[in-house]
């Protein structure tokens, strides 16, 4: 198994810590003029999303994590797993609920997501920044009121609930920013 020494630590490097894959966020070299050198490292646990700090003796090595990001197309959800496919090899992977986590409310079939694989298994899923989804439930629209502010909740085909302008109706397709959960616009083809 590959290892990384502290002098190779830089942000983005994927390492194993306490059995979990982590990504290095920040690496600070600390050394008194007379005394032992340490690396004080902030890491993000890629399983839990939690960030924590750990200090290593400089020169120490830790195991590399076999973590890669790949673009995969979302296919379907069978109730337990979410299926993704590599568009080049057609190879499929199943992601469980903890891997899809909050991304599941934005997953539309055929959309291309970034799937983070750890030891070849999905660890997390990042949906496209912008997705187009259909409104399946909302209060009746107020026609003509296209300019003024005011919003109402709307449930989308994936189950996500977003705040939308009052004039939108069931059946409308809207564009949403998945990072903020904000409504952006009506989709062009609706």
């Amino acid at each position: 198994m590959a290892t990384y020494s502290t002098n190779e630590f830089r942000s983005g490097l994927k390492v194993m810590l306490d059995g979990d894959p982590c990504s290095i966020v920040e690496n600070e070299f600390v050394k008194p003029g007379k005394g032992q050198a340490f690396n004080r490292v902030r890491l993000k646990n890629l399983k839990t999303g939690r960030t924590w700090e750990r200090t290593f003796k400089s020169g120490e090595s830790i195991e590399a994590a076999d973590v890669i990001d790949v673009e995969m197309q979302y296919l379907y959800n069978d109730g337990e797993f979410w299926a993704f496919m590599d568009p080049d090899s057609f190879e499929q992977k199943s992601a469980d609920a903890s891997a899809v986590s909050d991304a599941k409310q934005w997953l539309r079939e055929q959309d291309v997501c970034i799937v983070t694989l750890w030891n070849d298994e999905p660890l997390s899923v990042l949906p496209p920044n912008h997705v187009e989804l259909e409104i399946v439930d909302t209060d009746p629209g107020l026609r003509g009121d296209t300019a003024q502010g005011g919003t109402k909740p709307a449930t989308l085909s994936t189950g996500a609930v977003v705040k939308v302008p009052l004039f939108l109706e069931i059946g409308d397709v809207i564009k949403v920013d998945t990072r903020s959960g904000d409504y952006l616009s009506r989709a062009k083809d609706s």
């Binding site: 002098n7 600070e28 070299f29 600390v30 008194p32 003029g33 032992q36 020169g59």
Partner: protein
Amino acid sequence: MAGNSTRVKLISARQALYREIRSYFDQQAVLEVEVPLLARAGTTDPQIASFKVEGTSGRGYLQSSPEYFLKRLLCDIRHSCFSIGKAFRDEEQGAKHNPEFSMLEWYRIDFDLEALIEECIELICIGLGRRELVRIETYKSIFQHHLGIDPHQVQLADLQPLVGRHTSYGQACESVPEALQLLLSQLIEPEFSGLTVIRDFPADQAALAQIAPDASGQLVARRFEIYLGSTELANGYQELTDAEEQRRRFQEDINARRLAGREIPEMDQALLLAMSEPGLPDCCGVSIGLDRLLMTRMGLARIEDVLLFSWDKV
């Protein structure tokens, strides 16, 4: 076309800093000396890695400090002196470390440690262009204050839970100095503000300082460090003058390096010879990291901000 004014400002600030330092030592009749950066002997300090240089004229090490040469000079000229120059330390790179850096080091004949601490504070304030609040602590008082322990008496087993609770070190410490150092850097130093002097280090962290009993009879190293905020800025000693003791410490260092599988440099025999005859006069010496002083003078956070060409640009 206008030049890069940020860089011009940086160059001028360093020029002013060096001018003020030189002018201070001029008034004090302390001699400026220039010593070699490349020498056959390297430091034996178990925690410092030197750059090794191979040439057709011979091999040697880039000096990690001017200490050995300045001490050889002191044996001969018996006059207070200082040097402003480059120092090199392999494996040290970070927000406050660059493998090549600038160091001011000076020695005062017949000064005691208290007088040198006072002068060092004065010079730091000159370099900063402002006065700073000064707090003077002993290594013992600072550990008693923060953790209620006596660092000279504490056992490793008693330090492990403290390291676990107060630091992010994920494993057991191998030695008392290592545990104390972790607690100092992660629990105590972040609380520092203004200038903080720590003196009377544990005897096993003496480096090249004399070891003598403190007021309570505890053997301590006659060594101090000065922090500016939480950044270590200066390290000084009442210098060890006993050549035999010096040889013993070099040998101890070399044994520690062998155990750690580190490069074993040659002991500086010329220094040992000068220290035994004519001998090193009673003196105190200290060094200051000039890049770090300049960082604070200019309000910059990272060492590369004050270097024209930092390590990743050379």
